[in-house]
């Protein structure tokens, strides 16, 4: 039951248009970064956890990511628990 952190990455699904990523890509191209092929913009969350076993942390973070941090229509997520 140590203190842990959860890192959660939320990204727009690849099938969904990402106008923000496109705009950043466009800016990078005009700055001369011609090797950048594509930019996708997402979100990164850090959750400080306390009083959970590693297994509980995993279950809870996955539920939070799925039900709150992500809109499954347009986004997908991945996460990791770090000590």
């Amino acid at each position: 039951m140590a203190r842990m952190k959860a890192h959660v990455w939320v990204m727009p699904k690849t099938t969904v248009l990402d106008p923000q990523g496109q705009t950043i890509h466009h800016a990078l191209t005009s700055l001369g970064y011609s090797k950048v092929q594509r930019v996708r913009q997402g979100k990164f969350f850090v959750l400080d956890l306390d009083g959970l076993s590693a297994e509980e942390a995993k279950t809870q973070v996955e539920k939070i990511a799925r039900e709150v941090l992500t809109n499954p229509v347009i986004e997908e997520f991945r996460y990791e628990i770090v000590a």
């Binding site: 248009l17 809109n71 229509v73």
Partner: protein, 245 residues
Amino acid sequence: MKFGVVVFPGSNCDDDAYHAVGAVLGEHVEFLWHRSEQIPGCDAIILPGGFAFGDYLRTGAIARFSPVMRAVERFARRGGLVLGICNGFQILLEAGLLPGAMLRNRDLRFICRHVHIRVENTDTSFTCAARAGQVLKVPIAHMEGNYFCDPETLADLERNRQIVFRYTTPEGRLEDSANPNGSLAAIAGICNRERNVMGMMPHPERAVEAPLGSADGLVIFRSMVESLTRHQTGSNAEVKASVPA
């Protein structure tokens, strides 16, 4: 007949909706704070525009977990009329009461201007007083109004005639230049399969009197009143009675 206008921290079109229903149409209307766990005696609920909870995380994502939304969901599932306008539409999407999601406007700008929308279906409690194909001039004011859903959902929406409004030219023609935000299939408003929950990005409550530049939005509130009057002794009365006060 009683309308309830939900007020979230960050709602900013609640007074406009209250004015449209109360002052312009002369119907009974009350505000409902987001912490209310009940919506006593309401025949119709309006989720107004604004920036509920600062639109943090995603538009409508925090608001959908408000206590009042549990009551609104129960009310909707029992057939009660629920209208979500702009941010209210976004909240209905997040709550899963309507299908799909909102993306940023395709040009990434906040757009605030009058647009034209065509009534695609008059067989709803929100458009029964309108003419089929009628073009309404109403304002939009949003950053995330670019409606998106997967192809299967879009096919369902088309098949079940759930697309209530589309962005068109003033003459009612579908053109890409008349689509202000890039919405899929130029969708400006949809309803659920049961036709008792509708969400729309344009603001009918800001177009209810000539000095506002248009009174075209009034037809939506009139439709709701007409529909409720027609069903007062029927199914809606049962809905009202079955929702705990």
